[in-house]
Amino acid sequence: MQTHKAKRVEIIIEAVMEKRLTDALEGAGVTGFTVLPVRGGSGRSGAWSRAGQVSRAGGMSCVVSLIRPEKLDPLLEAAFKVVERHIGVVSVTDCDVLRAERF
């Protein structure tokens, strides 16, 4: 099966910033992404859980985007402007995808 090189960008960000992030991604020409719920975790800012949140203020979301390697820098620049001051994790991994024309 023919596969193609791509980048998988995973951004875990505060739920209140999710819409701002996806807007920034779209503004950078990244139209394909998936938003996933996140159940809980722990980090520099302490432990948290999706259960028992009275507002979105304490929740987190995960935005995953698979893109062509040449789109990586514009995406990261757009994402950084949103996540710079906020709790979260941005990671980039190499991956292979089928149907390159979709990315």
Binding site: R20, G46, G52, S55, A57
Partner: protein
Amino acid sequence: MDAILSLAADNLLSPIILSFVLGLAAAYARSDLSVPEAVAKGLSLYLLFAIGFKGGASVAAHGIDQTLILSLVAGLVLSFSIPVVAFGLLRVMSGLDTVDAAAVAAHYGSISIVTFVAGSSVLTSAGLEGEGYMVAVAAVMEAPAILSALWLIARSGARRAMDGELMREVMLNGSIVLLVGAFLIGWITGADGLAQIESFIVAPFLGVLCLFLLDMGLVAGRGLRQSARLLTPGLLLFGVVMPLIGSLAGLAAGMLIGLSAGGVSLFMILAASASYIAVPAAMRVALPEANPSIYLTLSLGVTFPFNLTLGIPIYLAIARIATGG
């Protein structure tokens, strides 16, 4: 004094408070008891709809006068000004830096709709009824405190912009839209509308509130367990003193406007309560440097339980004495 103690004792042994205490105790005991997120959301939607609708129906029954406008203006003024007082107190009592103090102050200028709902039910149990439009006053008191907090930050030179998107999110957050929307529906449909859905929004109300407060107890208990170490004696004292100061501001506003004993009580409850839904979300966007563990734990873990158990009976007793009601 006897009246306050008697009311406090009745309140402490009511099903809603005991449900909250159950949640608090379960969280401290590390029980796996939890209210599913979707259920908790459903319960809050129900409570907001019911309280809004009943407020609107009450306005339809009693009519409106200039006290409605005056109450809305007073609510706005209180929400703008309480954070300034809270900020000053925090700087003196707690030693928090400017950003954390401003973020905490915003919570105390805004309101807790659950405290308002619980207070309304205590009022009903005590045979009092507040002006129905206090629901609208609650809605207008949600957001101004956020602007005050950003202004306090700006004064220190670290400008934080309140962008249009954040303003829209705050003004149109789901709680405000549902509360105001249900209020308008209740106002438009009046007694007839209330009669049609009374079996849904009146009879089950206290039971639903019990379940919701059970969840709030769990959330508050878990928050306290995780973050209690952040609460210095100064902060703890602030979490109890500030609602009392806010309630006195509410008392003055209610008395000046000429509200009933129930209305004055509700004004005191609103001014004494601290937000833990709308403002934390706004602070995460506008002031991400502020530590959420401090403002959430203080608001939800200290001030909310204080208001629920002791504050509401105290405010109610003071309002009765002040108004002769």
